[in-house]
Structure formats: structure tokens, C-alpha cells
């Protein structure tokens, strides 16, 4: 027997969680895009898409976040710190790739110095992953040695049962158990079988690619120039990526008062590494694309023993010129 959360009870659950003080966040379909957002009713949630257009990252690391406001006086600088939002929240219905993305970035935000903006939110969030039963041409979690029902980064895993009737509940962590204890009255014992998770074909052999990337000779390979020739240098791949974590610190305001903010930044921009002198260590688009791939599959795992890619495929899905990690790694495995 398995415990099942029936979808017609979702509204009650959301209400229950909300009355217990949790903010409920989940995938919503807006007019123009789909994204993870806070909802008031279970019916606002939409599980129809393969995965939301925008990644889960932005709920932990927003595109712009005020850090400190300052007021400069004659002999004094007054500062007030902004704190990340407090309060428990439950993120219901993430995809495995998005949840893995969070787990991948944890060591980065936590090595040595702990980034409170990230960890405050991480500590307060319960991640409820729904195993995928459909995929599209760009999904590639299996190629990254993850799976459509990967539990990485998740506190609870839900497996859909037939006819969208609900989900089988698998609690994975204490945090997940606590959150589901709140709605235990809506969890029913039932023998319904789960729909098998989708089979995502493997698109490339990761080990071959990583070995190629780790070979120092290939750093100067002309492959990089060829593969990135059509890259236009926008940041849509990095900004939609669930693991890309680069940021910029910017002051906004006038001479006497303003706010210091943490904003997304991207390695695709020339200005990212440009020195004031005009010297740019990564002066060409091919060097920048190489940095992105190397960082994800060579440098990052070298430091944190995990690839900085969870295989969501958003980079390829959204690219204006149809590039992406998938294509690059496929080409590398052919070399």
C-alpha cells in the first residue's frame, strides 16, 4: 500500500499549508510564460508543461536583490541591511532537474563564506519534486547521470498516478515529513500504481566529454571557435539555467543614498571579465562559451565533485540561434 495525495485534494492541502504559515510556491502558467510563483489556491498550479520556462533558481537567487541601503552623511555612513525573506515555504511540483540545480549550487554558495541570501531561503524551503512522465526533445537529465525522478535536492518525491488523479508520496527528509504531516489527513492509503517515469534517451556520453574537457591540450582546440561561431552573446542560456550562479554587485542611487544590489551576471557578456585597462582575459565569444562549458563540466566538478548542469535543457530550448550545452557535448563526444 502506498500513500496517495489525490489531485482533487490539492486545494485543501494548499489551504492547509497556508494556514500553517507556509508560503506555497509552484509552477504556474501565465499568459506569456510559465514559471514558479507563489499561489493562493491549488487550482492556480499548473503541471501541464514539461517544465516551466523559467528555472527554480530565481526563487533562491533572484535576478536582482537589494543587499544594503546606505545613506552618506557628513562624517558617517549609515547602512541598513536587507534580509532575505523569512518564513517557511513549500515549493510544490518542481521538476527533478530544477531541484537538483539547487543541490548543485549549495556547495558553491557555502564554501568558506556562507551566502545568507541563498541559505536563508534554502533553510526555509521544502522542495517537493514531481517525477516527470513526459519530456521533450531538449530534456537531457539522463545524460547528466540524473533521472526524471531524481531525488537530489528534494525533500519529498511525488510520482503521478494514472489520469492525473494524484501522486504517490515518498517523503525523503525530515523536513519533507514535517511538511506532509500538516496535510496527513488528505493522504490516503491506496494501491494505485504510479505511471512509469518518462524514458529520456541519453544524448551524449558524459564521461567521454569530461575526459576530453579535462585534457589541457583541448583548451586551445579550434573546436571552440567552430561551435560558438553563431553564438550572439546574449545571456538567455545562463539566466534561465537552474545552476548558473554568477552575479554582479551594483550600487544604485545618488551620491548620498542608494542601495547596493546583487544582480545576475553572465559569462556570455564581454564586460563580465573586462578590466578597467581594457584588457579582457576572455575577449572572444568562443573563449566565453568555452568558459561556460569548462566551468560546468571541468572546473566546477573539480572543486565540488558535481557537474554544474542538471540537464533541464533550457539553454538549448531558449537559444535564439539554436545552440546549447546538448549540442556542444554531442559534438565533443564525436571528436
Amino acid at each position: 500500500m502506498t500513500r496517495i495525495l489525490f489531485s482533487d485534494k490539492l486545494d485543501n492541502c494548499v489551504a492547509k499549508w497556508r494556514s500553517a504559515g507556509l508560503t506555497v510556491i509552484g509552477p504556474v502558467q501565465e499568459e506569456a510564460i510559465s514559471r514558479y510563483a507563489a499561489v493562493e489556491k491549488g487550482t492556480d498550479l499548473s503541471f501541464g508543461t514539461v517544465l516551466p520556462d523559467r528555472s527554480l533558481k530565481e526563487l533562491f537567487f533572484p535576478q536582482t536583490e537589494p543587499m544594503t541601503s546606505y545613506t552618506i552623511k557628513k562624517n558617517e555612513i549609515e547602512t541598513t541591511d536587507f534580509t532575505p525573506p523569512q518564513g517557511k515555504r513549500i515549493i510544490f511540483g518542481t521538476r527533478a532537474c530544477d531541484a537538483s540545480g539547487l543541490a548543485i549550487d549549495d556547495p558553491l554558495f557555502g564554501w568558506d563564506y556562507k551566502d545568507e541570501f541563498w541559505f536563508q531561503r534554502r533553510n526555509e524551503s521544502v522542495i517537493v519534486t514531481i517525477a516527470c512522465t513526459k519530456s521533450d526533445d531538449f530534456c537531457m537529465c539522463t545524460s547528466l547521470k540524473l533521472a526524471p525522478d531524481s531525488t537530489k535536492g528534494a525533500d519529498v518525491l511525488l510520482r503521478p498516478i494514472v489520469k492525473n488523479k494524484g501522486w504517490i508520496v515518498e517523503e525523503l527528509t525530515e523536513r519533507g515529513r514535517e511538511a506532509f504531516a500538516i496535510i496527513s489527513e488528505y493522504l490516503l492509503e491506496s494501491p494505485e500504481p504510479a505511471i512509469p517515469t518518462v524514458i529520456v534517451p541519453e544524448k551524449f556520453n558524459l564521461d567521454t566529454c569530461v575526459a576530453w574537457l579535462q585534457n589541457p591540450e583541448n583548451f586551445d582546440s579550434k573546436f571552440w571557435k567552430e561551435i560558438s561561431m553563431r553564438c550572439i552573446g546574449c545571456a538567455s542560456c545562463t539566466y534561465l539555467c537552474p545552476t548558473c550562479h554568477c552575479f554582479d554587485i551594483q550600487d544604485e542611487g545618488d551620491t548620498y543614498s542608494g542601495i547596493r544590489r546583487k544582480n545576475w551576471d553572465s559569462c556570455s557578456f564581454a564586460l563580465f571579465t573586462m578590466h578597467t585597462s581594457g584588457h579582457n582575459p576572455r575577449s572572444t565569444q568562443s573563449a566565453r562559451w568555452r568558459q561556460r562549458i569548462m566551468h560546468k563540466f571541468n572546473y566546477f566538478p573539480g572543486k565540488f565533485s558535481v557537474n554544474s548542469c542538471s540537464g533541464c535543457g533550457r539553454c538549448s530550448r531558449q537559444c535564439p540561434v539554436d545552440m546549447g550545452i546538448t549540442e556542444t557535448l554531442q559534438e565533443i563526444s564525436k571528436l
Binding site: 558617517e76 547602512t79 541591511d81 534554502r122 552575479f247 578590466h275 585597462s277 582575459p281 573563449a287
Partner: protein, 288 residues
């Protein structure tokens, strides 16, 4: 996540407030400032952590932060000295700040020169132009405990006589019997009363021909100077492992998160800025 991560109470991106207590123009557009901590707690923290070679993020609220070395040695921790060239938005704002004004400092970050390992050895400092400040920090760390080291040689060059920084300290080193100072300016940069050498640093270095025996070399300078000086040092017989240099890259966080300062797999902000020439030669040259 299975367990909660303990978060430090303070925002890690929040700088300490510093008061400018002294400033000195070194060369056209280059200025040295002496900063004092306003909060004793910040100062204690600095005293505890600062070692020669580390860098900091100096900033002005409203303009931003910019990265350069701490030019004062670890033997003098009552204040921070920094030397910078006015070139961008932040350095312009710093240059406009007057004595008594408040600026910010975040750090010290990065690694250090392993000064204890230099004990008992001869030291060769090679520096060019605005890159003397990081070298100066090491020089003073050693000169403040002069007895622990062997022969000290300093080779310093700049484009023109006016571009030499720390002119008063150069005079001081010139007069010290226990320091061998070789000064040079690029051809065409000499003034009528210039008494020192004329020529590029690598050439002058080869002429001075310091012995590589039991010697540690510290080089700081523009990339092109470093490139040719390393060749000269090799010619003179220096081992790459005994040659130290510092790398600089654009930084925003200073603590290994913002993702822009890496050269190959090496994060300059965490694993640098001090590297041996051997370490640098293993990095992809195209990324420097």
C-alpha cells in the same frame, strides 16, 4: 536539504567603513591612501587575518567596489595602505575622496606570500610601474625583520621617471646599505637629471644578473613584463618554483562565488592572488 546550514549573522558582502587618514600622490593619476578602521571589531578581524599578499575590495557607496592589493605589510596592521591608478568609476570616486572622508573595505581575501619560507634566503624583487604596491607589501614585510633574510635586491622600472611610484621609499631603499636597488625607466622616459638605468626591466635584470642560488624572486608587473621577465629569470637559472607572482582579474565578490576571476580552474580570489611561476605555467595562457 537534509539539514540547515548555519549562516553567519553578517552579510558577507558588507564592507567595513574606513576613514581616509592620509593620501599621497605618487605619479600622474596614481595615489596612495592610508585608511583606518572605524569599527574596532573590523580592525581586530583584519589584524587576525591579514597576511602579506592578500587583497581587498575598496569601495565607495554609490559607485561600487574595486579590487586591488593591500600595499601595507603584515608587520604594520594599524592601518591599510592602498595605491591605485584612477581609471574607472570606483577609482575616480576614491581619488575624489578627501582626508577624513569615509570609504569602504572588504577583505582581506585570498592567499599570501609564504614569508616564513623565505627566511634565510636571498630575495629578488622585480616590479614594473603601478605593480610596485603588491611587491612593496612583501618588501616591507621582509625589511621590517631584515635580519631573517639574506641579500635583498629590488629591480624596479617604469615607463617614465614621473611614473615611478613610492618615490620617497625608493630614496630610503637607495640609502640603505642592506638593500640593493636597481631603478630603470623605459628608453625615452628618462629626465635630464636621471642617474639610474635606462632600459626595459628584463634587459636590466639580465645586466644586473642576480644569482639564483638560494634566492626567491617576486615579480609583479603588467602581463607583458611578466612574460619576458620570466624568460630572463629562466636564463639566469631560476627555478619556476622559487619565482612568485600575483595575478589580477576583475572581481565582484572576492569570495569565490560571482564566477568571473577564474583562470582555467583556478579561482584567483580564493586560490590566488599569489602564485608561483610554476603554477602559472600550468594555467591556460589564453585565459590570462
Amino acid at each position: 536539504m537534509t539539514e540547515n546550514i548555519q549562516i553567519a549573522q553578517q552579510n558577507i558582502y558588507k564592507p567595513a567603513i574606513m576613514k581616509i587618514v592620509g593620501r599621497h600622490d605618487e605619479a600622474p593619476g596614481v595615489r596612495t591612501m592610508r585608511l583606518e578602521f572605524q569599527d574596532p571589531a573590523d580592525h581586530e578581524q583584519f589584524k587576525k587575518t591579514y597576511r602579506t599578499g592578500m587583497f581587498g575590495l575598496y569601495g565607495v557607496y554609490g559607485e561600487g567596489e574595486s579590487t586591488f592589493c593591500v600595499a601595507s605589510p603584515e608587520t604594520r596592521k594599524e592601518y591599510i595602505e592602498c595605491t591605485f591608478r584612477q581609471s574607472g568609476r570606483v577609482t575616480s570616486a576614491l581619488a575624489n575622496a578627501d582626508i577624513g572622508d569615509l570609504v569602504t573595505f572588504r577583505g582581506p581575501y585570498g592567499n599570501r606570500f609564504p614569508i616564513e619560507e623565505f627566511h634565510g634566503k636571498n630575495l629578488l624583487f622585480i616590479s614594473g610601474g603601478i605593480a610596485l604596491p603588491p611587491t612593496r607589501s612583501v618588501i616591507w614585510s621582509c625589511l621590517d625583520q631584515r635580519e631573517k633574510f639574506g641579500k635583498v635586491t629590488i629591480v624596479y622600472g617604469a615607463r617614465t621617471v614621473a611614473d615611478l611610484v613610492y618615490k620617497h621609499e625608493l630614496e630610503e631603499w637607495q640609502e640603505r646599505a642592506d638593500v640593493d636597488l636597481v631603478l630603470t625607466v623605459d628608453p625615452g622616459g628618462e629626465s635630464p637629471d636621471w642617474k639610474h638605468r635606462v632600459g626595459f626591466v628584463p634587459t636590466v635584470l639580465e645586466e644586473a644578473a642576480p644569482s639564483p642560488d638560494n634566492c626567491i624572486a617576486v615579480i609583479c608587473g603588467p602581463p607583458i613584463m611578466i612574460k619576458f621577465t620570466l624568460i630572463s629569470l629562466k636564463k639566469l637559472g631560476f627555478d619556476e618554483a622559487n619565482v612568485y607572482t600575483t595575478l589580477e582579474n576583475r572581481m565582484k565578490c572576492g569570495v569565490g562565488k560571482c564566477g568571473r576571476c577564474n583562470v582555467g580552474s583556478v579561482y584567483v580570489c580564493k586560490e590566488g592572488p599569489v602564485f608561483t611561476a610554476a603554477e602559472v605555467s600550468r594555467m591556460p595562457a589564453a585565459d590570462l
